[in-house]
Symmetry: C2
Amino acid sequence: MKMKPAVTTRTINTIVSAVALLALGASCTTAQAARDPLPSWNEGPAKQAIVEFVHATTAKSSSKFVPPAERIATFDNDGTLWCEQPLYSQFLFAFDRVKALAPQHPEWKEKEPFASILKGDPKEAIAGGVRAMLEIVMATHAGMTAEDFEQTVKDWLATARHPKFKRPYTECVYQPMLELLGYLRANGFKTFIVSGGGIDFMRPWTEKVYGIPPEQVIGSSIKTRCEMRDGKPVLVRLPEMNFIDDKENKPVGIDAHIGRRPIAAFGNSDGDREMLEYTQGGGGARLMMLVHHDDAAREFAYGADSKIGTFSDALTAEAKTNGWTVISMKDDWKRMFPFAP
Amino acid sequence: MKMKPAVTTRTINTIVSAVALLALGASCTTAQAARDPLPSWNEGPAKQAIVEFVHATTAKSSSKFVPPAERIATFDNDGTLWCEQPLYSQFLFAFDRVKALAPQHPEWKEKEPFASILKGDPKEAIAGGVRAMLEIVMATHAGMTAEDFEQTVKDWLATARHPKFKRPYTECVYQPMLELLGYLRANGFKTFIVSGGGIDFMRPWTEKVYGIPPEQVIGSSIKTRCEMRDGKPVLVRLPEMNFIDDKENKPVGIDAHIGRRPIAAFGNSDGDREMLEYTQGGGGARLMMLVHHDDAAREFAYGADSKIGTFSDALTAEAKTNGWTVISMKDDWKRMFPFAP
C-alpha cells in the first residue's frame, strides 16, 4: 500500500487561512460585495446617487466620512415605502372602525364625516383634507388601551386587502425601497420612519415588514394617559390630537424623537418638503430623494393634481433647484413589489 | 538528518479548530465570561438580581427568554445615573443662564423666582417644587435654535464643577451603573434614559458618558418650531412647555418614544414609581430597581424628607410589596464614581 504524501506546512497554512476566512465570514463579505445590493433598481442617476452617497459617507478615506452614530436616514411611509393609492390604508382602517363602532354611536348617521362613511361614500368623508382626515381617524382610535389598539390594527391588516393588488397592505411595499433600507443599514445607517400617518398604526408591523423597530417610527399621535386597570398600569388613548407629523412638523418630530439632523431623507410629496430641506440644511454629504409615482401600469400615476400624495409643480421646481433626486418608479425601478417580480 | 514526523490528520484538525475558535472570538468570549462584568458591585441581593434577570431573559434555554428586540431597559438619570445633590445640575445651569441673560431682562430683579437667583438664593427660587423648577428652566432655555442651545450646554459643562467633588458633572456618574448599562447592552438590551430632566440638556453628552445616543433619551421638553434662518431651516425653541416627563407621565413618554413596555427599569425616587409599575405590568421576567442614597461619606444620604430625589416611606413600602430591589449605595457599591476607586 502506497503511503499518502506527508502534509506540508504550506498545506496547513492554506487550510488554516481558509478556515479562518470562513470563520470570520470574510469569504461571505467578499461574495456580498460582488453582488448588487440594489438588484431591483435600474442603472441610472437615482441608483448612482444612492451608491455614491453611501460610499462618500462610509469610506474611511472619504473627505465626507460620517461616523456611524450620525448616519441617520428618515423615510416617509405612505407613497414612499408602501402604496398610498387609491386611499391611505389607515383611512380604510378608520372607515372599517367607524362601521364597527357605529351601533354605539347612533348620532354618526346624521353627522359628517361619519354619515358619508356609513353611506359608503369615503370620498365625501375625506374632502376636508389631511387635517380633517386625521381628525376622523383619531375619533375612531381613542377610548381603548394601547395594547388593544395594537391588536385591532393587527387583526385588520390580517384580513384587509388592497383593492387593486388583492394583497395584504403590508405586501404592497416597494421592493426597491426594502433593498435601500437594507443597504443603508448594512452600511451602518439607522433607518427611521417619519410619517404623517398614525405612529400607533405603523408600529405593530414596521419591524416585520421594513426591519424598523417601533422606537424608530415617528408619526402623528393622539394623547395617552397612564391609568390603572385591573390593578395594572395601562396607557389609555384619549380623543385628543397630540401631534400632526406632516410638513413643517416633520423636522419638529425628527428633533423630538431623534435629536439629530438626518443626513439622508426620502419622501414622495409636498408633505415631505420641509423634511428634505431640514436634512439638506446640515453640513457635509446629504442625500434627498423623492419617489415619483409615474407608473400607472404597475402601480398608479399621480402627482400635481392628486389630493393624496400631492407632488406639486413647486416641489418639482424645488427639487431641481436644490439638487434633490427624483426617482421615476417607471424608469428607475426594475421591480415594484416583492410579489411582482 | 532525521525526518520530522509527518503531520497527521488529527494535528490538522486540532490546528483548524484552534484557528476557528480564535477567528470566531470564542476564546475572547470565554475569557470575558470568566471576568466579572460588574466589578464595582459587591456580592449581594442587588447584584444577584441583575445577573439572574439577565440570564433568565437571554439564555436560549430559559423559559423566560426575551427576543433581543424586546429587551428594553429604561433608566432615570438624576440620582440614578449621576449625582443629583445638592441640586439638579440642570438648575445650576439654568441659574447661570439667568445671571448671563439678566442684563436683557431688567424685570427679573423684581420678579420671582428670578430675583432670588440673582440675589444668590437658589433655595428660595426652587421652593415651588419640580414643576415650578422646570418652568424656571424652560424660561431660560427658549428663544434660540436647537444647535445654539446644544452648544450652550456643552460650554457650561466644560467649565462647571460639582460643589462637593470639584469635578465636571459628567464625571459625577455612578461607576456601578455604567457597568450595568454596558452589561445589559452586551446582552442585547437597548438602554434608554427616561428622565424628568430636559431632553435637550441631556442629549449633548449622554452618548459620550453613558453610551446612550440622543434618540434613546426621553425627557421633559419645550415646544419647538421649524423656521428658515439665513436660508436654512432650523428648530427654534419656544417658551412653552411641551411635556413633563415625570411620575405618571413617564409611561406616556416611554410609549411615545419607544412604543414597547420595558422589561427592566431603574430609578431612585417617587418620580420613578409609575415607570417601575408600568414595567412590572407586562408579562414574563421583569426587573425593577431603586437606587437608595444612603452613603453620606462617599456621596449623599437622603430619602423620605428630601425635596430632591424624594424616596418616601410609601415608595419603600411599595418596593417591598412589589418585590422591587432597593440598591444600597453604601452596601452594594464597591466603588462610587469612575474617579474614586
